[in-house]
Subunit: 368 residues, 4 copies
């Protein structure tokens, strides 16, 4: 890990003129680590905008990419600029994007990082987040850990007063909004957030902002439970100390909660999620387990009349719309979750701290 | 008015023993006013419970009944005990109600005052509030302005810690919950409450508790706007001073609000409601106008893609369930709207103060 | 099996007068089989109606009860009259039921066999089918394989022209209606019915009646696939001969179907169900597996954005309402699925034919 | 009328070469009529496709444009090619459209004629049909009554086997699909189609295809009622002969229908629509009245708990998706409604026959 971190700090000045080259965290070849390189500033196509990156968020996915696990090795085609969470300032518009007249040079923006085809059945029926032709920035095409990024204008979202630091993490906040608001009537409801990584902590805040009457959060990590409390959890439970399901039944008059947000991805989490939901309740699953789960469908799903929903990405763009409202008014303030800030060149430290498990959200301060 | 008030204060002690007779505000004959009389304590049927009334709410409907307007004259069949909003303590259960084992003597309760058939299409498909066989307490059968009332066990709701004073007004709070939560996704949304009588003021509180990002309230009456602010309205508008629609557009970036709750019942309110809603928005209509409204359907409904929904009563019992949650946690505290408290015999004063327009919610303290 | 069948055919005339005793298929003690006995005609309570049984349906559950498997041994408390699917004629009403004036002696009726508390959270919010106090006729209290049954009036459904033979099987048809119509917009959609027992076959008919554009059905049993075709399946697949998932993808332009109805209860069925659904699709699970299923939640549920819904019973009473409409007009005609008719005393033959797997729906002709 | 028709037949050959000019029905100046002219073939932009028009549909809107009524005079900016319903064959793709790889030269297609901004709140939240920047072909920009039209690739829909004659009228069929399927659960439901112009007749077919159990249609015009019957109406009513509301109540056991589709735009239609809907029912309004409607909101909307929904255009693109499914399978066959076919130059005759009121759908055979 140290050596990788060291390698990432190695800055290789490029021979190009400053106006055509930029700094970028690049995966140059298959294998662990990232390298800070000078690369050409991207050229926006007719429907694109060029964005000067101000702040970027580091995600668990970036850790997988850094470590070059099986998923990363199977999906990424280096060389590639990494990073998919960011905010920035519009620097230039392609001619078609300009002709639309909806975005302007100087606008502070963020962007949906899933670039979809726009024509398939999911794209045409409100499920663009499930488009099979999706290309994700920082995964399938060049990303945002760089001074500049080019994005399709249709993916760009104006911040309209939301601070760039928050704008940079609207991708994972959007995961939380999608998870909490999907399918359930949240006002007055009881919600159990299972897993308090950054998205779980954001989900706590979303559930509170949306009027949940009781928000219970659980994690094995005491530091994360602190963050969940800072985001408004009424009760936090640690499976090391608490019988989670028993406590939830106790807190809900024996019924179980209306909604469970499964953010942990642990197969044990699933069993707990099903047991914690009330008959007729909803379990929204965001955490992606790395192995199979044994499910007792008769007892846990069918006789309970549960609804399960698999959460991917953000609804385009109803999730964004709801999120913008909650953030602009300050009903949802995700900043207590941001625990660490690094410059671009300290990516190795950022990755190390995420790996350590004591961080909330980690962001990179890229530009001004 | 004075004479009626005087007549209502006239207390006629009954010859019966105290255990079989009780005080009740009765409409003895067609015509204005009510009389405080001794009447027999009702005998609960096999499926009923007898409730000792503690607190009762006085509603605009009771004003119509007092004044014996055309609606009242066409609907009520005196003699009749008036009153449909109340809370109390269970005194006795009919044998079938007792066998169910769900309610007990001593339980603090309120009740849904619409007694429905349970068998018709609306009753069987989640729309019992639209049952054409509905019999309303205090309108179609004896009501709650009395020491005791007998109610079907299935209509009875346990307070479970909600104070009896609040329990007494869960009927109109339920109207507000039904109006605000019907059809719209409230978290993060913008809501315009048009008309700030007690139900409008409750609706302000419900919208806030449900996570609305902007709640705008309007009324011609400055006192009512004060109450709306006390319940959490972000902005209050008075049509005497403000161009309501212009201000709403301004406050919503030109779009209009996501949801309008029409609580005024003025035909002018309707036009304003349609104009204030954003394209694709929702207008929920609770206020019942006494004359026809001219509607430009092409401009105001069709080209705007609006959804209009007529609100009657409370959904049985999803509205009650949502309301209980919001009240138990204190997310919704309706007490700022309660401006006046009277004993049963002062019904004339209560009616006078409602008529005057300067009251919020008026309640009767009946028993202990 | 033969001996059990023989025992059931043994008729023991009772000493009582015919007006107070009746024939009934009784589980007299823990253990396999049923006995045809004379037992007292039930006495309806104040809210009940006494029904003369005309036709009854034999269900897979009755096979479990006959065989006295672990589930039956754990749940039933003999002596008990078996049977939960029936139609009949109203013979008598309790006084409260009569006072309601909604049902009359002579009405041809069927009934929802789940008797619920009516007061709990699920009962009050449209999920009465999930009431934890549910008592099922023929399982938790005396059932319908008898000349008479007493039912709460609120569970009774008038046939209004639906033939008694169809009325007798509205319980399982209702399972199919609940499964097919839950959550999905069926008109124009593509539906895969996995498992063609009687409820699966009914589901085929419901999907066709509701305007599905493509109904695919699968089963290992060729006779059942014949019945599915008779009910309108566009395509039938047999996993012995067909790669079911490949064929479904082929038939849906590579997407998978909008909705899967899992009626088989086989854990292998679950994997197939998830694979056959399109991204963003719906999987409704009715078949209850006897062992756990291994689920790859990341691949099969989360990244596909699937919704899973556990189906129990029938929605009270929106499922019944939809079903009545489809049956009255003849849009849905379940009669091709009825393959065998027996008199009450031939229950052993009925059970044997169900066990054999070559039957569709089996009914008992009880009275006239 | 004759003179206008004559003027439209006047063909002025253009001096340009055939490859760069084409025939088009043009409104050359403010005022009545249209002229068949040679105009330049449009040049597709980077995101556009050039389509050879095969068949076009003539709409009531085209009649307003021909006659140059107040609406047309206020909205259109001549010179302009008219026509917004069409099908055709892709002739050429702009470079961005080509790069997407989703459409190819030779594809048979139709298109959504509302070109929206894609960025506003309605566009981003499933209500693009309400985009305030909508530009309609044949109204706000050049249309389809021509040999060629250029369309944004994102608006183009492949026919995938739907005959071009049907493809040409998917715009109004889509209005019907949007109206019938919006908000109501159609399978098994009762539907009243008020007004049997072409879209009303299509709505009859959609309701049948979607499994409605009873479809009642009304019109003053006997010829149109014939077409409604040809599309599957179970019952047709003529207000000249029938008390429409009484008959509907009679046909629905006194309840009224589940859903009314108001396609007439007559203020009298509205009153009838509200009266014909059952308590808790849905009224979807598509017909655009030219004057205000007097509404008794208390009696007709609030106490009935009605939902009203204003229908504009087609949902992009969930309406299209549902429509494609219904058309591809032949569940919905709109061809009985097509009563007249004309060549492009006979537009005057087409307009005359529409004005006469005896036509169903009128189409123009433009190319091959």
């Amino acid at each position: 890990m140290e050596s990788l971190s060291a390698s990432s700090a190695l800055y290789i000045p490029a021979p190009q003129s400053p106006c055509v080259s930029m700094r970028a965290l690049v995966k140059p070849d298959p294998g662990p680590g990232m390298v800070l390189q000078e690369v050409p500033v991207p050229t926006p196509g007719p429907n694109d905008v060029l964005i000067r990156v101000l702040v970027a968020g580091v995600c668990g996915t970036d850790l997988h990419i850094w470590e070059w696990d099986a998923w990363a090795a199977g999906r990424l085609k280096p060389p590639l600029v990494i990073g998919h969470e960011f905010s920035g300032r519009i620097e230039k518009l392609g001619p078609e994007a300009e002709a639309e007249g909806l975005l302007e040079v100087g606008d502070l923006v963020t962007a949906e990082g899933h670039i979809v085809c726009g024509h398939c059945l999911p794209c045409r029926t409100g499920n663009a987040h499930l488009c099979s032709r999706t290309r994700i920035i920082g995964v399938d095409r060049d990303g945002a850990f760089a001074d500049y990024i080019s994005m399709p204008a249709s993916n760009v979202i104006r911040l309209d007063g939301i601070p760039p630091e928050i704008g940079a993490i609207m991708d994972p906040i959007g995961n939380a909004v999608h998870t909490v608001l999907a399918g359930a009537e949240v006002p007055g409801s009881t919600v159990f957030i299972l897993g308090c990584g950054p998205i779980g902590c954001f989900a706590v805040g979303v559930a509170r902002a949306a009027g949940a009457s009781l928000v219970i959060a659980s994690d094995l990590n005491a530091r994360r439970l602190e963050l969940a409390r800072a985001m408004g959890a009424h009760v936090t439970l640690n499976p090391r100390d608490d019988d989670v399901v028993d406590r939830i039944r106790e807190l809900t008059g024996g019924d179980g909660v209306d909604q469970v947000c499964e953010m942990s991805g642990h197969p044990e989490g699933h069993a707990q999620a099903f047991a914690a939901a009330r008959p007729g309740g909803q379990v929204n699953l965001l955490g992606t387990p790395s192995r199979n789960t044994e499910v007792n469908f008769a007892r846990d799903v069918i006789f309970k009349g549960l609804t399960l929903y698999g959460v991917t990405g953000r609804k385009m763009y109803s999730t964004w719309h709801a999120m913008q409202r909650l953030l602009k008014t300050g009903q949802l303030d995700p900043r207590p979750v941001i625990t660490h800030r690094f410059p671009l060149e300290a990516i190795g430290d950022a990755i190390a701290i995420i790996k350590d498990g004591q961080a909330g959200k980690v962001i990179l301060e890229v530009g001004k």
